[in-house]
């Protein structure tokens, strides 16, 4: 098994996605999905080269403050307001292997629950020192980490009184375009998680729990910041050792 003995790039197709583990497209409790959900069956096909491959993002694209949301939009000498936290974890695939070189991008509201965006109308204050975006590339063990402030909860127009629990959006780029994933991280112990229609789009409670980051007391930095640990699992890849090959290949 070549993949155990060297670092040759892998070429296998990805495991079929377990669509029952994810939210369905149509989730009427989240109203915007009603007109934005495909209704025809998806065309299912084992991955081809077009999905097995994917771009590489070198560590050179990452700036020094990209993983520090407390400072990357702040004026010199100032910092974002809020509860200081570190979010860290690993990007793994379904086989439990680390995914090195994965581009992890994250964005969030400020400590008051307000996004820096022209479409945002919530009356909570903008923090002049908080932009709300950051990114990292995983190391050889699939690890990423960033500093930020804990985002606030906020109301949103869906039901009459719907609120989003505190959350951080994540976009993850693994090795193949088929692994592309966007998700949201929630915080351990937040009772609002279970009231949220967007969380509720996911049918299986165990799947929801996979999005809740535990407080990581061990990695909490004394007199500085608490830590939350959020591991992310991307689709796994088949070994190519049993794949049919054309004659001569």
């Amino acid at each position: 098994m070549s993949d155990l003995t060297n670092n040759k790039p892998e070429m296998g197709a990805f495991f079929a996605r377990d669509r029952a583990w994810h939210a369905p497209a149509l989730t009427p409790g989240y109203k915007t999905s009603v007109l934005r959900s495909p209704q025809r069956a998806l065309l299912s096909l084992d991955g081809t080269l077009s999905e097995i491959t994917g771009p590489v993002f070198g560590h050179s694209v990452i700036g020094e403050l990209d993983n520090d949301l407390i400072h990357n939009f702040a004026k010199p000498g100032e910092s974002a307001i809020g509860e200081r936290i570190v979010v860290h974890g690993r990007v793994l695939d379904e086989r439990g292997r680390p995914v090195p070189g994965a581009l992890v991008e994250f964005w969030q509201a400020n400590a008051g629950g307000r996004y820096r965006h022209k479409k945002e109308t919530y009356l909570a204050a903008i923090d002049p020192n908080f932009g709300g975006c950051g990114r990292s590339i995983t190391d050889d063990d699939g690890r990423y980490a960033f500093r930020t402030v804990r985002p606030g909860a906020y109301p949103w127009p869906n039901g009459v009184n719907d609120w989003r629990p505190a959350h951080i959006h994540f976009s993850i780029f693994g090795h193949g375009f088929a692994q592309r994933l966007i998700t949201q991280m929630y915080f351990e112990g937040d009772p609002m998680i279970w009231k949220c229609p967007i969380v509720g789009t996911i049918p299986d409670k165990r799947a929801i729990e996979q999005l809740i980051a535990p407080l990581d007391w061990g990695n909490t930095i004394p007199m500085d910041a608490r830590a939350y640990k959020f591991d992310i699992v991307l689709r796994g890849r088949r070994s190519t050792m049993f794949e049919n090959r054309k004659e001569g290949n």
């Binding site: 790039p9 070429m11 079929a16 583990w21 994810h22 939210a23 369905p24 497209a25 989240y30 915007t32 999905s33 009603v34 007109l35 934005r36 495909p38 209704q39 025809r40 065309l43 096909l45 084992d46 991955g47 081809t48 080269l49 077009s50 491959t53 994917g54 771009p55 700036g63 990209d66 990357n72 939009f73 793994l92 379904e94 086989r95 581009l103 964005w107 996004y115 965006h117 479409k119 945002e120 932009g131 709300g132 959006h169 976009s171 993850i172 090795h175 375009f177 592309r180 994933l181 966007i182 998700t183 949201q184 967007i198 996911i202 165990r206 996979q210 999005l211 699992v233 796994g236 054309k246």
Partner: protein, 204 residues
């Protein structure tokens, strides 16, 4: 008892939400100074090989309204049909072409646009050549899991007719939803999330 496979479950997807631009294209939404440029905003440079084309389009919801808060990513082979990826074993792709682009649908008119090159042909698993195509991934508020699809080229009628993916589409009138409309070097590919002409989306 049997041995345990020990596999993990994929992290469930959640919608990108209305503020996806903050994370993926911050310069587009006026968060300047954090990143020099938005990743994926330029696909070609002066040295990129191949036929220059523009790929543009809109995303429409089930009522025919423009989706003005989506982000589109595309992934494609270079002009010789090679992917700029470590998993590409057939050769070395054009170093001046990463093959990946990212673009929001603009708030004012719902249009996305990529300046790129026409991709070459890439083999299917059994060695048959697929018709030239560009892989699309669409996320937006209201989309719970990113949508995969492909754009094909109208002038490649013969290749399209033999394309292994297009051949799998049971309702033949739907094949057209994956074929762009050409005007000179501009290809327009509208994506319909729902309705009579719903785009064929892929579980791939």
């Amino acid at each position: 008892m049997v041995q345990e496979l020990g596999y993990l479950r994929e992290t469930p997807s959640q919608t990108a939400g209305p503020y996806v631009h903050i994370g993926l294209t911050p310069n587009y939404c006026d968060i300047g100074g954090v990143y020099e440029t938005d990743l994926g905003s330029a696909m070609v440079n002066d040295k990129t090989l191949g036929e220059r084309i523009t790929v543009t389009g809109r995303v429409l919801d089930g009522a025919g309204a423009l989706v003005r808060d989506a982000v589109i990513e595309i992934w494609q082979a270079d002009s010789a049909g090679l992917y700029n990826s470590p998993s590409e074993m057939r050769g070395t792709a054009d170093p001046n072409f990463a093959g990946w682009g990212r673009c929001p649908t603009r708030a004012e008119d719902g249009v996305f646009s990529f300046d790129t090159v026409k991709p070459g042909r890439v083999p299917f698993k059994d060695g048959r050549k697929m018709a030239p195509h560009i892989t699309f991934w669409i996320v937006a508020r209201g989309i719970n899991i990113g949508l995969h699809t492909r754009m094909y080229f109208p002038e490649e009628a013969e290749a399209n007719e033999a394309d292994p993916l297009l051949l799998r589409i049971e309702h033949r009138e739907r094949v057209d939803t994956l074929i762009a409309v050409r005007e000179g070097s501009t290809y327009t590919f509208d994506i319909r999330l729902q309705g009579d002409r719903e785009t064929v989306f892929l579980d791939i």
